[in-house]
């Protein structure tokens, strides 16, 4: 009897939690499938299946372009930060040299920088480089938060690999770069997938830099485009379109997260619990 009560309590707690976690997304989906005045009638179950709001994203907002921008920026950020972080992590994890500890702390310190603290300096830099209103400005500026994180996590992963790995190769006089790519890269693949995915999500979601360094809708990434969707007046926000856009950018991300669930959690905890 007590066991039964305990199970019922557990089930109820899970149910409440699941509703709390999932309801906003569910409600966005059913709102996005409504149209016209039906939008302003609260309903708890899907009542319509109208794709007008989705169609309008493409005809009125040029939302496809925004998605493409986000994909280009996030992918470039991932590739660039993984390439830079892999070589750096190799040095930090496998070689003893003076100043290594200090360097790790400095990198950790940079990951704590508030983005706003570098905004005016970055704005000047981006203007000088001629990158204002250009997606390259975002790829460059996003390094400030993806790079410290990827370096830190890859370093912790690489430190755990056995010493014997490179010793034999070193004795044979094989160059470190070859060792890195032949010996370590295959072993680091899971860790790189996890950190790459986290970097992708961070770049996909970033808002402040994307808002500041782009000017026209053709150069905007998805979060900025969604934040700036406006209707005829401030009080007539096109909620159908906003919810449709929200669903479009969220569902692929959720699919990605669920598929790589275990790896991502491992990457997250490696960065925080162990680090």
């Amino acid at each position: 009897m007590r066991g039964l009560l305990k199970n019922a309590g557990l089930f109820l707690a899970c149910l409440v939690l699941a509703v709390f976690l999932l309801f906003p997304l569910y409600y966005a989906v059913i709102t996005s499938l409504k149209s016209g005045s039906e939008l302003f009638q609260v309903s708890y179950w899907p009542r319509e299946f109208d794709l007008t709001s989705y169609a309008r994203l493409w005809t009125e907002q040029n939302f496809g372009r925004n998605i493409l921008n986000s994909i280009v920026v996030a992918t470039s950020v991932v590739l660039l930060s993984l390439a830079l972080a892999l070589t750096a992590a190799f040095a930090l994890a496998r070689v003893r040299f003076a100043g290594r500890g200090l360097l790790l702390y400095a990198i950790l310190g940079i990951s704590m920088f508030p983005q706003i603290a570098v905004l005016s300096g970055l704005f000047e830099l981006i203007r000088v480089l001629g990158l204002y209103n250009n997606l390259a400005s975002l790829v460059l500026s996003y390094m400030i938060f993806t790079l410290p994180f990827t370096v830190w996590v890859l370093t912790t992963f690489m430190r755990d690999l056995p010493v014997e790995l490179e010793e034999a190769a070193l004795m044979d006089g094989i160059s470190p770069l070859v060792i890195l790519f032949r010996v370590f890269l295959p072993l680091m693949a899971p860790a790189m997938a996890a950190t790459g995915l986290l970097a992708f999500i961070a770049a996909w979601n970033e808002f402040l830099f994307a808002l500041t360094f782009t000017l026209v809708n053709e150069q905007r990434t998805v979060p900025v485009a969604i934040a700036l969707i406006t209707g005829a007046s401030e009080h007539e926000l096109p909620w159908g379109s906003i919810m449709a856009a929200s669903v479009v950018v969220t569902l692929p991300l959720i699919a990605l997260v669920l598929v790589f669930q275990r790896r991502m959690v491992a990457g997250l905890t490696a960065g925080a619990v162990k680090g």
Partner: protein, 306 residues
Amino acid sequence: MRGPSLSSERARTAWLFLTPMLIVLLLVAVWPLGRTLYFSLTNATLVDMEHYSLVGLSNYLTYDNGRWYGVLSDPQWFAALRNTLVFAVISVTLETVLGVLIALLLNAHFPGRGLMRAAMLVPWAIPTVVSAKMWGWMLNDQFGVINDALMRTGLIAEPVAWLADPSLSLLSVILVDVWKTTPFVALLVLAALQMVPKDCYEAAEVDGIHPVRVFFRVTLPLIAPALAVAIIFRLLDAMRMFDLVYVMTGATDATITLSVFAQQELIGFQDVGYGSAASTLVFFIIALLTALYVMATRLDLGGRQR
């Protein structure tokens, strides 16, 4: 086996490997931070960032003609400071308590646990701007589902202006932040819980100790290091919070944060000097709080270094 020449050669290679990463970090982090600091001592504007003059600390605080000027005499900045601190303390406290409770729940063995863990990742994966819009729609005073549900169940008699009422808007923003980031804390705590050896619990169970006591005496001390790290991550994020407030409520006095204030001065009002001063203050406030936190919790961030 290795001679000194080999290891010094390795050190040289190490620096070579580090150089590209270091150059990028210097370029996008250290240099811009230094420039922001410098701009905070000038009267530069966004339209013309090349021509300006040094004005000392007057962007921070100055006394002129019987009046105080500067960020540190700006009532809106103090509103932002208050909001940011209230937001950080309440949201991080709620996220920690709820995160631990949820982690304990998910640490129990029951069918469907994997599904629950997957559901936890959903709010975390949703972009902040999107969560702000989703909740903004749900909290809409006229057409929102929250007012509808609360009125149907008789908990409120009239629609509540969750985002427009100054006494409620900060709480609404906190609610959304808790929804979005509690899963992060829960996942970190869950990972720590799974490293707690099982025999700790079994011994306690044999001795008939109450589960609540077991939690405070056994579990909590063991997960405390992981919890300390999760809390500092959350505190840092909360103190620099920008997008949620910018999208949900904008720069209203009731919800404006330090980052929103600085961005408004910098970009909205194009005052690079004043905005940089506000940005610099965010940096130093966060640096100070982090240092205090690390000292207070004796957090060993480099604990795994060999």
